[in-house]
Subunit: 228 residues, 2 copies
Amino acid sequence: MERLLESIKITVNDKLYIKDPESSDLGKRIIEHSILMINDMGFENFTFRKLGAEIKSNESSVYRYFESKQKLLLYLTSWYWGWLEYRLVFATNGIPDPEPKLAKAIEIVTQTTVKDWVFAHINEELLNKIVINEFSKSYLTKEVDTKNKEGYFSIYKRLITRISEMIKAVDNHYGYPLSLASTILEGSLHQHFLKEHFSSLTDCHKDEQPTKYFTDLVFNRLNNQPNV
Amino acid sequence: MERLLESIKITVNDKLYIKDPESSDLGKRIIEHSILMINDMGFENFTFRKLGAEIKSNESSVYRYFESKQKLLLYLTSWYWGWLEYRLVFATNGIPDPEPKLAKAIEIVTQTTVKDWVFAHINEELLNKIVINEFSKSYLTKEVDTKNKEGYFSIYKRLITRISEMIKAVDNHYGYPLSLASTILEGSLHQHFLKEHFSSLTDCHKDEQPTKYFTDLVFNRLNNQPNV
DNA sequence: AATTATTAATAGTGTTACTATTATATTTGC
DNA sequence: GCAAATATAATAGTAACACTATTAATAATT
């Protein structure tokens, strides 16, 4: 995969940044260290001032790239979903049969990310943790509808649509392909969170178990047609 | 139900408040109006200062009842889960067969709340909306493990345990009763949120559809034993 | 060498969560 | 009915935060 991706750039909605962080060294340091710091201290305790100090730059310089903390988070999570979408399409494209195709898709989106380091300044493993802990906060706000209209969630939405299409390909009589797709994505983040902090509320205690749980759940439903 | 509940008090962890808001008129107004205001403006924009102004009292008086905004949110959501647990136990206790019992449980926890007004100062319908929009924020923080140790999520956890027990009663060979129970609860909040803000990501467009979706999903899995 | 773009430094604004202190009501015990 | 205890209100203040404005220094381009 490394070879292939060298020429690939994950593109996110360009309204999410003022200046493309990929376009400069400072920009890349902003991305790299915001991932490290948000993962360390959590989004609430993370500030542009602290980030500036960490990268030996200045708060105001960070504001040249991102107009707010919220937009930086949306940039990071969008990037993550874009990267996941890329891996999903790449891994499933060659599979002709709907069942193994969906199975592969579930595997990709529910497993925790292994260290890839395809993009030098982006630690995908930590970014995955950030998505588990912080993504919900990016839409659980009063501004969600405007943000949505501005297209800040479009990659995420496209990803869910893709999964729902694969579900329909397995069973086009099933009545809830979109709900099931969104349950797989969100539910998998949630199971990973429970695994870390509420282990008494989940049967998933190892990284690969959410994949097994959702694969089992989805295929049992879809092979069993007593629809609505 | 009204008659019965007149003498019932939903009790939450008493470390969540400094002074019991149920013990005074001011306390009840704090609860009543914090529900209205958080629902209106969202948790981020809600402040004790604004609340004080609204109830013609003072910011510092609110701090006599709750030591922080976060604890007030935890109080409200705990109360909600306690109330839901009560309704769950009440509605399922008399059902001997595991299947209809679980079906009733899923119905209770996945449906949006109808106006009950059993507790004069608590609008359960709005509280349900608050839980949908804000509950995740109460655990998606760096302090989650300490909060958990202090017992601030115990009612929520007990509720999930109860549901998982009902799942086991239907199929005690199923390998993921806890994960399934937590998926039903969290997933249902999520589907209700999507219904309001991302209708292209769900098949649930009416209030009762999450119930149907999860009932279908759960029973199809449990009647079908190809376990792990 | 001059122009331009980028980055850094400094200072400031309004708001927030929360605390401390004092003053004023209200309730309670006798 | 009145003093003591308690609850509430008012005021002021702190440190931190998100974000802005302005100017200074540096680097890249022409």
